[in-house]
């Protein structure tokens, strides 16, 4: 499923947070969105998944006009993993993941054995198969985030948005979550913090600064020391990692220090 974001603008009061941003995700690519804090990437994603209403612009997911469509129709195709949040009420892990089936369920429909199997498979995929009856609130941050990922998997989406899903997670779980998502073979748009991870996992990158896309392209081509200096205000050297063969970034010093 392809995502086509066309000249999206979001403003709060007089502040233009996102300015005419266009993003395309085609052919089941893993597309990354990078940029410094406050550059508008989270706002952009939220307006794609219908939490924020954009001022102008259009979002097409396949042939669904996301901004006009009702949330249920969108949620059958689009899964979102956001930053985990605390709940005032507790659920078991299984109940939590089962809620991923909500978009596919009618008013009176009960959970079928298929639903249970989907939930079980989703939990197995995130390595939490034995956690089904644990209480969600008793889990660690990394475990909670994996439960949320399992819930999104249970949604069986055809497109997935990750809104900085690996914040506060151990490196093991960061890698684990990104690998699971990458193997899904669906289109993905992800806001990521870590540039090296972005370079490793993404097929294509959009770089945002002050609400605009300032660069886009394949990671190897756009992640240059000039771009990083300009966008993130950090001096660095780019090298080829001798062990992995991937892109390496050696940060030297924050600009202006």
């Amino acid at each position: 499923m392809n995502l086509n974001v066309d000249r999206l603008c979001v403003s709060f009061a007089d502040a233009h947070i996102v300015n005419e941003v266009s993003v395309q995700v085609k052919n089941k690519q893993f597309v990354g969105l990078i940029g410094p804090n406050g550059c508008g990437k989270s706002t952009l994603l939220k307006s794609i998944y219908k939490v924020i209403k954009p001022r102008e612009g259009e979002v097409l997911l396949g042939d669904i006009n996301v901004i006009k469509a009702n949330p249920k129709q969108v949620s059958r195709k689009l899964g979102v993993v956001g930053q985990f949040n605390e709940l005032s009420f507790d659920f078991t892990v299984q109940e939590m993941v089962m809620m991923g089936r909500t978009p596919h369920k009618g008013l009176l429909e009960t959970d079928s054995s298929d639903d249970y199997r989907i939930v079980e498979a989703a939990l197995a995929k995130v390595n939490l198969a034995s956690y089904a009856n644990r209480s969600y609130n008793s889990l660690s941050g990394g475990e909670k985030q994996r439960v949320i990922l399992a819930r999104t998997l249970a949604q069986q989406p055809e497109f997935m948005i990750l809104d900085e899903p690996t914040n506060h997670l151990d490196i093991k779980y960061q890698l684990q979550i990104l690998s699971i998502v990458r193997k899904l073979d669906i289109g993905i748009l992800a806001a990521l913090h870590d540039l090296t991870l972005a370079a490793e996992y993404c097929d294509y990158l959009y770089v945002m600064k002050e609400g605009r896309v300032v660069a886009k392209g394949e990671p190897e081509q756009i992640l240059t020391k000039e771009l990083i200096a300009e966008v993130f205000d950090v001096d660095c050297e780019i090298y080829r990692n001798p062990v992995t063969g991937g892109l390496g970034i050696a940060y030297l010093q924050a600009g202006g220090m």
Binding site: V51, L78, L87, F89, E95, M99, T102, K105, Y116, A132
Partner: protein, 368 residues
Amino acid sequence: MQTATLTGNEPKKSLIHTRSGFLAMTGVLLIIMLLSAGAAVSFGQVEIPISQSYRILLHQITGIQIGDPADLASGSFVDIIWKIRLPRVLLAMFIGAGLTLCGTIMQAAVQNPLADPYILGISSGASLGATFAILVGFGSIGFLGQTGIAFWAFAGAVGASLLVLMLASSGGKMTSVKLVLAGMVINALCTAFANFIVYFANNAEGIKTVTFWTMGSLAAASWDKLPLISIVIVLSVAFFLLQSRVLNTMLLGDEAAVTLGINLSVYRRAYLVVSALITGVMVASCGMIGFVGLIIPHMVRGLVGSDHRRLLPTSVLCGAIFLIWTDVIARTIVPNVELPIGIITALIGAPLFMYMLVKKGYAFGGKS
């Protein structure tokens, strides 16, 4: 997904989490509720043996005679049970169910385990309406003079909740924090107006009525009051049972709910309006009875979890049973005096609530 047989590696569940276990528990609670209702008519200033109460009820309802036909058809026991106590016990049952339902729904709607009709200011609106009707009234203004306390309590409840909703959704999105704050504001405002009226009222009898009314009482129960309240509560329980999935996603917060296809602000508004209607009907018929909507859902969550498909039926039944027996206590604890039931629910509810706070270490912002 291909169908395949469920294998044995499904995680083990506790008994009440299996479908049959849960149905059995619901059935048992239903039977306990009905037996409680039957037993509760025995208690009061005139003690009637429980076996005789059951026989009288059975005879009145189905016509089956067990034992001496003479004490079944006539006598003061029959009148006491059938005309006075049974409507009251049934009212207690419905009000208990309704209060618990409202508490559960409001807690989900504002994502705060502390919410109930009191916190959201709905009861104070009802109270203001009733105070106004009792102490000021519309005696000289034609048809308005005909309307009773009940109507004004109801109008107050609905008015207060509309104000709370308007206040909470001013400036864009309605959030749970804004709702709770708006509830506090309306609560303070209504209480102030009500106190103002009481302070200047030159009507000792009226003030006594107001006081009694704000403490809650089921003493005014009668058969002709039951149809409205029972229909409203049965229908709203059925309505919210159908909404269980939405209620579940509500507990996840607005953002997660949208990604699961549910636009909470629409549902939240609808649920709060329905709860206000139920609260209005209940407060109108029995005054303010606190703590039931707060305490019962809390306890039942500890037993069956937060999934509303299990939580709602269980807590509604437990609420009904709780209020039936609380009313028995109110009628019998002090000989020849009937205590307002609101006092008893608070006396039972507050320590229970304290115990739960200490035991579970609830932190209301989130972590527990």
